[in-house]
């Protein structure tokens, strides 16, 4: 293919990557915007993900939206791993960091079949494990990984830096302040959050995410080549795809096509159809326009791909069994008591762990920053599943956003009226610390904030002996458990600074059946 045409194709690929990355962040930002009423469909990237289709098939009930995932699967049979090279936003970020790394001159490294093979084995581990109740695909799936990292780390981090940089600029006197102020006001109005968002585990998730990005500087598209289970799935199909990069008679056998190949192969040597993401860098590196893009039915022997090895596959399946079994024998599985609550609409814990893909879309959508990625509260397999943490935020009475954005319905779709009645948990007063009991003076901040129209938190006036030995009338707080929906605003606003004197626990939570 001639130089002009290949340059154009490469530019088109970059444009496509920029567009889909933009689309991804646009939808994500939209789902966390300030307006409550209009919520565009933010699940697009999840519904074209075949791995989540698999999760949905296993966890049921089936949602037709996931049929969209068949489209990229079928297209892969024609265009190979175009999805990884042209569409995937995480792939685009990896490509960008790879490009940053390639600025420094580096010698060609040979294809490392072992590291390329790892992702296939990981895919087998995760798929086998998912057959036995454990559903861990979300930890590594590129969309869930990116959504989770972006909502809990990238966006809040960017918000922090932008806020502080612009604020000090806007407050400075003279021309600098005048120049920055309009930008600051505009972004405060449309982009920045009024309160800085904070997340449980932000540093851990951030460390993983930025390590994955930085590893691209040492190894081209490290995550995509080595770890991505979705890439592996596409790789298995791409082997049979029609697209092909044959060499014509112009080839000088110089090996320049390997200079920027994302998997360290090239159309000339080590051409692996299952690894080629059609970035088309080789077309531009070729000095003799010797590489073509062709579509042809692959004949036997023309399906260059990795050999996974039977023993490896069996070992991976075995690991899958172990990965399935280990979380199931944790003590959390038996205990009926647990010290956490889930966002509204959450299905029963056992189903929840099967359905939730740990994407963090709910965390981004929560207006009060109440939803956080779990550590091990619900066992090892509950890592990064959403918790409602009233200390940091509360479930806004007039909001049902998280139940609208959950791609797998682990948080069931609830209308606003349904959500207002959904019992997340129950508030409990700690009489040993509540001011109205322990110290004998009035407070009632929780009563004031309780959003239930009939008030699930009330007070009764009683005479008490306070700590000065004086008899005094005090409005003592109590909870009406039947009315409480467990939104957690009481815990959030309790003025005590050691620990809130009113706390929401899982008692009477609606998602677990009472029997």
């Amino acid at each position: 293919m001639d130089a002009k045409k290949s340059k154009r194709l490469q530019r088109l690929r970059i444009l496509s990557q920029i567009f889909f990355t933009w689309l991804f962040f646009f939808l994500l930002l939209k789902s966390g915007g300030a307006a409550i009423e209009d919520l565009p469909h933010t699940g697009f990237f999840f519904y074209i993900d075949p791995l989540l289709l698999w999760v949905n098939l296993l966890a049921g009930p089936f949602f037709r939206a996931f049929l969209l995932a068949l489209i990229p699967l079928l297209l892969t049979l024609v265009f190979g791993r175009f999805f990884c090279g042209w569409l995937c936003p995480l792939g685009a970020l990896n490509q960008f960091f790879t490009w940053l790394g390639s600025r420094r001159g580096r010698k060609k490294v040979a294809v490392e079949r072992n590291s390329l093979r790892l992702k296939y084995l990981l895919l087998i581990v995760l798929l086998v494990a998912s057959l036995f109740a454990s559903q861990l695909l979300g930890w590594l799936d590129p969309f869930t990984l990116l959504t989770r990292s972006a909502s809990t780390v990238v966006l809040p981090g960017a918000n922090f830096l932008a806020q502080h940089a612009m604020q000090s600029g806007a407050q400075s006197r003279g021309w600098a302040g005048k120049a920055v102020k309009p930008f600051y006001d505009l972004s405060r109005r449309f982009l920045l959050t009024v309160r800085q968002r904070t997340y449980l585990q932000a540093s851990a998730i951030g460390l993983i995410f930025f390590s994955l990005l930085l590893l691209n500087l040492r190894r081209r598209r490290f995550f995509c080549n080595t770890l991505c289970p979705l890439g592996a799935l596409y790789g298995l199909l791409a082997k049979y795809s029609l697209v092909h990069l044959p060499l014509n008679e112009n080839c000088l056998k110089c090996g320049a096509c390997a200079n920027h190949c994302t998997y360290y192969g090239s159309p000339y040597q080590d051409y692996l159809k299952s690894e080629c993401v059609l970035c088309l860098n080789c077309l531009n590196d070729c000095p003799a326009a010797a590489i073509d893009v062709r579509f042809q039915l692959p004949r036997k022997g023309q399906r260059p791909a990795l050999d996974l090895g039977r023993r490896h596959i069996l070992a991976a399946a075995g690991c899958g069994l172990v990965a399935a079994a280990l979380p199931q024998i944790g003590v959390e599985k038996k205990s009926k008591a647990h010290a956490f609550i889930r966002p509204p609409g959450a299905v029963a814990e056992k189903d929840f762990l099967k359905k939730c893909v740990r994407c963090g879309a709910c965390m981004q959508s929560c207006p009060t920053n109440a939803i956080h990625p779990a550590v091990f509260q619900s066992g090892v397999e509950g890592l990064w599943t959403p918790l409602l943490v009233p200390l940091n935020g509360y479930c806004e009475y007039e909001c049902n956003r998280c139940t609208q954005v959950c791609p797998t319905y682990a948080l069931a779709r609830l209308t606003l009226e349904e959500k207002k009645l959904f019992k997340i948990g129950t508030a409990v007063i700690d009489r040993s610390t509540c001011y109205t009991y322990a110290d004998g003076y009035n407070c009632a901040v929780c009563e004031e904030h309780c959003p239930v129209p009939e008030k699930a938190i009330r007070f009764r006036e009683v005479e008490v002996n306070n700590f000065r030995g004086k008899t005094k009338k005090v409005k003592q707080i109590y909870v009406v458990p039947d009315l409480c929906i467990g939104c957690g605003i009481c815990e959030n606003v309790c003025p005590r600074t050691d620990a809130p004197a009113i706390r929401v626990g899982a008692e009477e939570e609606q998602r677990e059946n009472p029997y």
């Binding site: 009024v194 309160r195 009060t368 806004e396 407070c443 009632a444 004031e448 129209p453 007070f459 309790c494």
Partner: protein, 296 residues
């Protein structure tokens, strides 16, 4: 602004300028006018009430930066009556501009998430339309202010409220669980930052100190829709009654006493009004408060 209203406002403004020294001379301490206007349009009755107490020109001088502080505390709609009616606010903003205000700022430190409150209450859109600057509270702008009260001393306040020339307090009258009622004095909680819940300990004393230590140049109480039960958040429409009234006064305690009477409650039962009475901020018996009631 329509040409007619512009001319009308202009005339009112210039006459206000001419009459202002006279009006100031006439005002006697302890006998400030309290006007209560009833009518079908919240916008019109607000304008009428402010005109009746002597006009905005008496309060706002040319070139003033004016802070209008509504109650935007909650993520609730106008009908739910937890936040100040935007129409009342519009009237106040327009009058402030007509009286020569250089800038009008609208701001509150909300209880629910700020963006949600500002939008759902309809206040942000209305204030912007009326030409006011809408500000969100910014914790980096907190400064410690000394209220020099009996109970309330130093407490963090948003600098925005201290840096203006005139402060107009535009609360909504509604039920409040622990303090009984929330009107203008309680509305001043919105200028505070920090762990405000701590102030609930001696709430009556704190509110009185707050209102005594921070001047409201004008108080306009929105009692168009009144939340009668389960305040201050409310939510249920059956708890809201239509009273179609606005109360205006330059004396915060008298406005509160009049509003309490409108609510149907004796001011002597309200803790913070008792505390305010003890601080000699005004009369507590409604019979001694000269309320001028009008209908439009």
């Amino acid at each position: 602004m329509k040409r007619r209203t512009f001319v009308k406002n202009g005339a009112m403004f210039s006459s206000g300028l001419l009459l202002a020294p006279l009006a100031r001379g006439q005002a006697q301490p302890g006998a400030a006018a309290i006007v209560q206007v009833k009518g079908a349009s919240p916008y019109e009755i607000t304008k009428k009430a402010i005109t009746e107490i002597g006009g905005m020109g008496k309060i706002v001088s040319r070139g003033d930066v004016v802070m209008v502080k509504p109650n935007i505390g909650w993520n609730r709609t106008v009908e739910q009556a937890a936040c100040t009616n935007p129409e009342v606010l519009r009237a106040v903003i327009e009058l402030a501009f007509a009286a020569g205000a250089k800038k009008v700022v609208v701001m509150d430190n909300t209880c629910h998430k700020a963006e949600d409150c500002y939008q759902r209450s309809g206040i942000e859109a209305m204030a912007r339309k009326a030409g006011a600057e809408v500000r969100y509270s910014d914790e980096n702008r907190l400064v410690v202010h000394d209220f020099k009260g009996e109970v309330l001393g130093k407490w963090p306040v948003f600098r925005d409220f201290l840096e203006v020339d005139k402060f107009i307090n535009v609360p909504i009258l509604k039920h409040h669980g622990s303090s009984g009622l929330t009107i203008a004095m309680k509305n001043l909680y919105g200028i505070l930052g920090g762990n405000r819940g701590k102030l609930h300990r001696d709430m009556g004393e704190n509110i009185a100190d707050l209102a005594n230590g921070f001047r409201s140049h004008l108080v306009v109480v929105d009692a168009f829709r009144v939340l009668m039960r389960n305040g201050p958040v409310g939510g249920r429409l059956s708890d809201v009654e239509l009273r179609q009234t606005v109360i205006a006064s330059t004396r915060i305690m008298q406005a509160d006493v009049a509003a309490a009477a409108l609510f149907g409650r004796d001011a002597r039962e309200v803790e913070y009004l008792q505390a305010a009475y003890a601080r000699k901020m005004g009369e507590i018996e409604i019979s001694k408060v000269p309320v001028r009631a009008l209908s439009v």
